[in-house]
């Protein structure tokens, strides 16, 4: 059943066996996995079924570190969460991503890739992907054009494309029809209230933007609000624990990670552009394992990561006539018009083109002469950095909750890895006669600066997972250390981020958490899992 908070009486207290706070990829997956059980599941969402400006504004915050987009545009606050604008681009983490690597401080999950393998299988289904098979050799001739890299240096990484799945839209009916699930819209959890010993959650305080209040009395709570908001809610719930919940060791909000992403090189092709189509297109393949839509990317081999002390990284390959903003904007406008659509923000597009007439002219000239280049961008794992963090700002939002302050910081190893990966790709392209690469000046500079950073809106690490309470906020089951019935779901629990887009792993971790909660709720309440 899907209800609006305003359908409950003002001041009402709602009982639930499990309350999930946040209806994004993690929250919806959890509720979906637990539907049709005997446990009453309450999925609480701040927004409605569609976007709403006033609710979205609750996400506004301060950026005080590396340049970052406004926080109220970097995520979406309505049913389905940020899956409402993702591109369905999925890859699992690699085995090495879970390891404690001596050259990557603060690395290491309490899980292995094998532990997560069954959950990844189910996550593939949730994300409407093909079979959970990402090894290129298992697809054989179905993926023509893969480059035969020197495998001690580079390997081919496969990604899959979903439709993309809009979780809110796609799973809405299933949740609405589930007898044991209530989706509560337009309800904001503004505080997690714990007992005096801070060992258990007693209730959640609710407010709406219209001033209605209420409470939830849950047996178990999962906070699934997103990589920034999870930390915010724990930090802001400071009535008993002055530093916030789960924060006895000053870890909540620290280790914020993104996927730094920037174009860093181009290459003059020595082969026809479409020779590398599997690297820049959406490539439909059918093999023994089934069918899927793929894109390949060159990635650092595990071997070279170990030998040279690098992070994990893979490279996006694209092509075009020109990379300047004026030409790129022209291309976007032309594409819209060709599709019979008025371009979005045409005024801004015109201004951009007018401000880059040289780049626009160069692009048009090269287009007329059909002179393409390959371009390359890195998707690099960010080294966990305790000083890269989310804290609470002094300003409060319309609900009285402190806004967030994001201080995003990178480390030298991030750029060192990007530079090395890029050079390896350039060397391999030249060795194989595919083209000659020129690296951008900023990448060669021996500093930590990045140029024209294009972040991915991947927010990770702020409630990191470790079996040691001194090193992590949650344990291997995503339970907050020291608080018996409080869990966290989503990418905030990732200790490290790999290079892959996080959604598939978010969903896999939610599937795994659902299994854990099924067992745990059965223990706590008695009886089986129900039908």
């Amino acid at each position: 059943m899907i209800r609006d908070f305003h359908e409950h009486a003002d001041g009402a207290t709602i009982e639930a066996d499990l309350c999930i706070v946040g209806a994004g990829a993690a929250g919806i997956t959890l509720a979906h996995e637990l539907r049709n059980s005997r446990r009453r599941v309450l999925l609480v969402e701040s927004g409605g079924l569609d976007a709403d400006a006033a609710t979205q504004e609750l996400y506004a915050g301060e950026n005080v570190g590396m340049p970052y987009p406004p926080l109220d545009t970097a995520r979406l606050r309505f049913f389905g969460g940020t899956t409402n604008h993702w591109d369905g681009h999925c890859a699992p983490l690699d085995a090495i991503d879970f390891e404690k690597r001596r050259w990557v401080p603060h690395s290491g999950w309490p899980l292995t890739r094998a532990d997560l393998a069954p959950a990844y299988e189910r996550a593939q289904v949730m994300c409407e992907l093909g079979p959970c098979e990402y090894r290129p050799e298992r697809w054989g001739d179905a993926l023509p054009g893969l480059i035969d890299f020197e495998s001690r240096r580079l390997v081919n990484r496969l990604w899959q494309f979903g439709p993309p799945t809009r979780f809110g839209r796609h799973y809405r009916d299933a949740l609405n029809d589930a007898a044991n699930v209530e989706v509560l819209l337009n309800a904001n959890v503004v505080e997690i209230v714990v007992n005096d010993e801070a060992t258990a959650v007693r209730k959640l305080r609710l407010r709406s933007l219209e001033g209605r209040s209420g409470a939830i009395r849950p047996r178990t709570v999962v906070v699934a609000c997103g990589g920034i908001e999870n930390a915010r809610l724990l930090l802001a719930s400071d009535r008993v624990m002055k530093n916030g919940l789960g924060n006895a060791n000053d870890l909540v909000g620290r280790f914020f990670q993104e996927h730094p992403h920037a174009i860093f090189a181009f290459a003059v092709p020595a082969v026809p552009i479409d020779r590398l189509g599997v690297y820049y297109g959406n490539f439909a393949a059918r093999g023994e394992a089934g069918a899927a839509v793929f894109q390949a990317k060159p990635g650092l081999s595990e071997d070279i990561q170990r030998r040279e002390g690098l992070l994990n990284c893979c490279i996006d390959v694209g092509w075009g006539y020109q990379r300047s903003p004026g030409y790129l904007k022209f291309r976007a406008v032309a594409k819209s018009l060709a599709q019979g659509r008025m371009p979005r923000d045409l005024g801004h597009a015109v201004l951009t083109m007018a401000g880059d007439l040289g780049g626009l002219a160069e692009g048009l000239y090269r287009r007329a002469r059909d002179q393409n280049v390959f371009w390359f961008a890195c998707s690099v794992e960010q080294a966990p950095n305790p000083d890269s963090r989310v804290t609470l700002a002094a300003e409060r939002d319309a609900l009285g909750l402190p806004r967030v302050r994001l201080d995003w910081r990178l480390s030298p190893l991030d750029k060192i890895t990007a530079r090395r990966a890029c050079r390896l790709v350039g060397e391999e392209f030249a060795r194989l006669g595919l083209g000659r690469m020129r690296l951008d000046d900023w990448l060669l500079a021996d500093d930590t600066t990045w140029q024209d950073m294009d972040v991915r809106y991947h927010h990770m690490g702020t409630t990191r997972m470790s079996d040691d309470p001194k090193r992590g906020v949650v344990d291997r089951h995503c339970r907050v250390h020291g608080i018996d019935n409080l869990y966290v779901a989503g990418s905030s629990v990732f200790p490290t981020s790999g290079y892959a887009n996080p959604t598939l792993t978010i969903v896999a971790m939610a599937v795994r958490l659902a299994d854990h909660l099924t067992d745990r709720l059965a223990d706590r309440l008695g009886g089986g899992n129900g039908g």
């Binding site: 880059d356 350039g426 060397e427 030249a430 060795r431 000659r436 020129r438 690296l439 024209d452």
Partner: protein
């Protein structure tokens, strides 16, 4: 205006490509030159775009000033490719030897970055020979 690196290079792309494309495509004709490069490695025989090659070579020598001697460069190239023997055996074998060495350079990461371009050490040394010529 940002993002114009492809067209700002101090070593213009047409120079680089012309120079490198001809490094391995041109026949080499051995002839005696006791003062500098062995005759089979005479740059003008290997590089049709000498202007571009010299620009690249000058930048390489700025990075590796200890190699700024034709004889030394030639010995380095000979050592990598066995070009001395190949030169006697004919231009086609020399071309293949240089091509093989270039690939080995890239595979081993024995490369240099000149104005952003990634060059095999062998390519850079041939260009340096041209610059010294």
């Amino acid at each position: 205006m940002r993002d114009m690196q492809p067209f700002r290079s101090a070593v213009p792309r047409r120079w680089l490509l012309a120079a490198l494309a001809t490094v391995l495509a041109s026949p080499a004709v051995p002839w005696a030159d006791r003062r500098g490069a062995p005759r089979h490695l005479r740059p003008e025989r290997l590089l049709s775009d000498l202007g571009g090659a010299r620009a690249i070579g000058r930048q390489y020598l700025a990075l590796a000033p200890q190699e700024a001697a034709p004889g030394l460069l030639a010995r380095c190239l000979d050592a990598g490719t066995g070009a001395g023997a190949c030169g006697d055996a004919g231009p086609e074998r020399l071309r293949r030897a240089l091509d093989e060495q270039r690939r080995r350079d890239f595979a081993a990461g024995d490369t240099v970055v000149i104005d952003g371009w990634i060059l095999a050490r062998t390519e850079a040394r041939l260009c340096a020979l041209a610059a010294l010529g």
